[in-house]
């Protein structure tokens, strides 16, 4: 009996081993046969499959995509949160020189929150696009300028490129709008949310009928946090300077939460409570999302009919997210990498297709202007509304906040530390010192945290 059990397990182990090793096919070009792409979800894979003409097929479990010439893309996926993705990526990049060709990182993605760390000139982990044979001024001329600045090092050398650009809007429930304001027309609703003061008055109206304006204080963070005047940490410095905008977010959030405009039970984002706030039982009126948020987050969490949500202008223009594609120094797949970057970030037709299929707001100025007035881009989920009408003007006005390599930790930990303050668990000063403790644990080199007066 026991022996049988053991042998079953052994067989299973052996079978699994052979399965994973059996599918290596050889390619004929001088390039490497395996392209390792590091990312935190399957967003990039879906887009690549949709528009990169060389794609042949993807394995059922989503880990390997085979190209027509036999080259395999291996997807290495690790979650973003809590810095896991970056740890794994850093580990791999540090071992890049010693790794076998097929184990090297070839392409990796980064988010706006930490893109700066990887475009760093001295670290030199991402190849300048020029060295790949891409001329940013010519090949990527139609991209929004701020995305190019974001992906460049301090000398202005572009070391990454993105297909998306993430102007934020406000998505609201039509039924709640009708109930409270008597109309669900995006123009009329937008008027009620045109700036923070007006929005506050509107929040009071919503509250009177038993609704929350937003789900949580984390929802509004990006509106403040991505419009900071100076970066969290100046280059070369070890001092964190907390921007006044962040302090405004803290005081406003406290006020809003205490006033009952936010749902107290939703603590932060990306958790079950937040997901539930997007369901039909919820009393939350609106969410602040860029295009990807609507498609990627709101849609799967909505359990009612299509057409229940609509898009309008947010109280303040903002940008949230953006995935940058980098080619790793030491890659043996430069040709493919160049191809992929051009196909995904510099080809208007491809980008428009991504916009149509995945509702991404893509990185093509002329394309997005066309989309704003093209009914083909209307969304069923939004009841036939064309969201690009609202995205496009926001995108024109985005001024990207100055970045630093510490942004992700700062953004994550400040929300975490002040969450206690909002919930009434700690005093304001304690929350401040908790942030200081946590940030210095995360980044040992940080010596001081300065708060604005």
């Amino acid at each position: 009996m026991k022996r049988k059990f053991v042998s079953v397990i052994l067989t299973a182990a052996v079978v699994a081993g052979t399965l994973s090793a059996a599918t290596v096919v050889s390619a004929d070009s001088g390039e490497g046969k395996v392209i390792n792409i590091y990312s935190w979800n399957d967003e990039f894979r879906q887009r690549l499959e949709a528009v990169y003409p060389e794609v042949e097929s993807t394995s059922k479990d989503g880990t390997v995509t085979t190209l027509k010439d036999g080259t395999e893309i291996h997807w290495v996926i690790n979650p973003n949160q809590d810095g896991v993705y970056q740890q794994k990526l850093d580990e791999a990049l540090m071992n890049q020189a010693d790794a076998a060709d097929d184990d090297k990182v070839d392409i990796f993605l980064s988010e706006t929150d930490y893109v700066n760390k990887y475009t760093d000139k001295d670290a030199d982990v991402a190849i300048p696009l020029k060295d790949l044979g891409i001329d940013p001024d010519k090949d990527l001329a139609d991209q929004y300028d701020f995305t190019k600045t974001t992906a460049s090092d301090t000398d202005g050398v572009q070391r990454g490129s993105t297909w998306q650009c993430c102007p934020g809007t406000l998505v609201y429930r039509r039924d709640i709008a009708k109930d409270v304001f008597g109309t669900d027309d995006p123009e009329a609703v937008g008027e009620k949310l045109k700036d923070w003061d007006t929005t506050k008055a509107t929040a009071e109206e919503l509250k009177a009928k038993g609704y929350y304006t937003f789900s949580s204080y984390a929802d509004t963070f990006r509106l403040y946090g991505n419009s900071i005047e100076s970066s969290w940490v100046e280059p070369g410095s070890t001092t964190i300077k907390v921007d006044q905008k962040i302090m405004d977010w803290i005081s406003d959030s406290k006020e809003w939460l205490d006033a009952g405009y936010l749902n107290k039970t939703v603590k932060g984002q990306w958790n079950d409570d937040w997901n539930k706030a997007m369901s039909s039982d919820s009393k939350v009126f609106a969410f602040l999302f860029p295009a990807w948020g609507i498609d990627f987050t709101l849609k799967p969490n909505w359990d009612g009919e299509d057409g229940a949500w609509a898009v309008t202008n947010p109280p303040q223009e903002y940008n949230w997210g953006g995935s940058y594609i980098h080619v790793a120094t030491g890659t043996d797949n430069t040709e493919h990498a160049k191809d992929i970057i051009l196909a995904l970030t510099g080809n208007k037709d491809n980008l428009l297709k991504i916009s149509k299929d995945y509702a991404d707001f893509t990185n093509t100025k002329s394309g997005m202007q066309e989309a704003a007035s093209d009914d083909a881009f209307a969304s069923d989920f939004l009841g036939g509304q064309n969201p690009f009408e609202y995205f496009a003007p926001v995108a024109e006005n985005i001024k990207i906040a100055p970045l630093s390599p510490y942004d992700q930790g700062c953004v994550e930990l400040i929300q975490n530390a002040f969450s206690d303050y909002f919930q009434g668990n700690v005093e304001f000063d304690k929350a401040k010192s908790n942030f200081e403790t946590a940030i210095m644990e995360r980044y040992p080199e940080i010596t001081e945290v300065q708060w604005p007066e």
Binding site: A16, S20, W75, N78, W270, D281, N301, D303
Partner: protein, 281 residues
């Protein structure tokens, strides 16, 4: 008479408490199992006690997700736990036998040393351990999760006290007279005698290793080498996974069900084994 009815009241009370405690222990598993049968949309509507129809859907989406290779993780866990249990029990028995049956210089010192390190938390050496295995080229492999189990002071102590109570040295002498080699004696005569103790410790080591999170989380980097606890832990933080709670419940189910099945099959031995450990005296 009075004491009898008092006893009866007490007995009923005891049963009620026991039922409540058992309910508490089973309640969470029941919810887990029920939720694993619901789709994300159903879970969004709030908890429902009636099982849903999405058990297989959820199982399929767990099985087909390459970025969370749950079944690969289970295989890894089985390999690590199985090998650890085997190495740990064999070498602990060997060490215990070495100290119990032989006289040599430094025997006392060796025994005292093992007893002294009995309580040292593994976390204390974690940092140096990590650097060492990196240098030895064992970073991101399953070996450093298995080999160190050769030195398990607690299991040694258990084996030692078991030997004290159940292996008469005369038996060893008799084997020697029969011309049996020392190693042969250990494998053919001593090990079979120690079977109950080995079985119990094998189970505990297996379970302990199956559930171990701290060390694997530091050592393992690549997806296809991850053990179950690391996969489970990444779920807590994963930003995109949370969109399917049904899948999350299913993953937890998949992670703990194998151990529960093994437990239910062997519960008699396991429960007897708990007491073998502490109360040997």
């Amino acid at each position: 008479m009075k004491t009898n009815s008092g006893k009866r009241v007490m007995s009923i009370f005891a049963h009620i408490v026991l039922i409540l405690l058992s309910f508490m222990c089973l309640f969470f598993f029941a919810i887990l199992l029920i939720n694993a049968t619901h789709s994300h949309a159903e879970l969004q509507k709030g908890f429902s006690i009636i099982p849903g129809k999405h058990f297989l859907d959820n199982l399929r989406s767990v099985a087909n997700d390459g970025s969370f290779p749950m079944f690969r993780g289970i295989i890894n866990s089985v390999i690590v736990s199985g090998c650890s249990a085997a190495l740990c029990t064999y070498f602990s028995s060997l060490t215990a036998y070495g100290i119990y049956a032989y006289d040599f210089k430094g025997k006392k010192v060796a025994f005292t040393f093992i007893m002294a390190i009995l309580v040292m938390p593994t976390q204390v050496t974690a940092m140096g351990f990590l650097r060492l295995i990196t240098k030895m080229g064992m970073y991101d492999s399953l070996l450093p999760l298995i080999i160190p189990s050769i030195a398990s002071p607690a299991v040694f102590y258990f084996m030692y006290s078991y030997l004290q109570s159940s292996l008469p040295l005369s038996l060893v002498e008799a084997a020697r007279i029969d011309g049996s080699g020392e190693f042969h004696t250990f494998n053919r005569i001593v090990l079979p005698i120690m079977k109950p103790a080995i079985a119990v410790q094998a189970i505990f080591t297996f379970v302990g290793s199956w559930n171990n999170y701290f060390v694997p989380a530091l050592v393992i980097q690549s997806k296809n080498k991850m053990t179950v606890p690391i996969l489970i832990a990444t779920l807590r933080g994963a930003d995109y996974m949370n969109f399917d709670m049904g899948k999350i419940y299913m993953m937890i189910t998949v992670a703990i069900v194998p151990i529960i099945i093994v437990y239910l099959l062997l519960s008699k031995y396991i429960i007897a084994g708990v007491t073998l450990g502490g109360v040997k005296e």
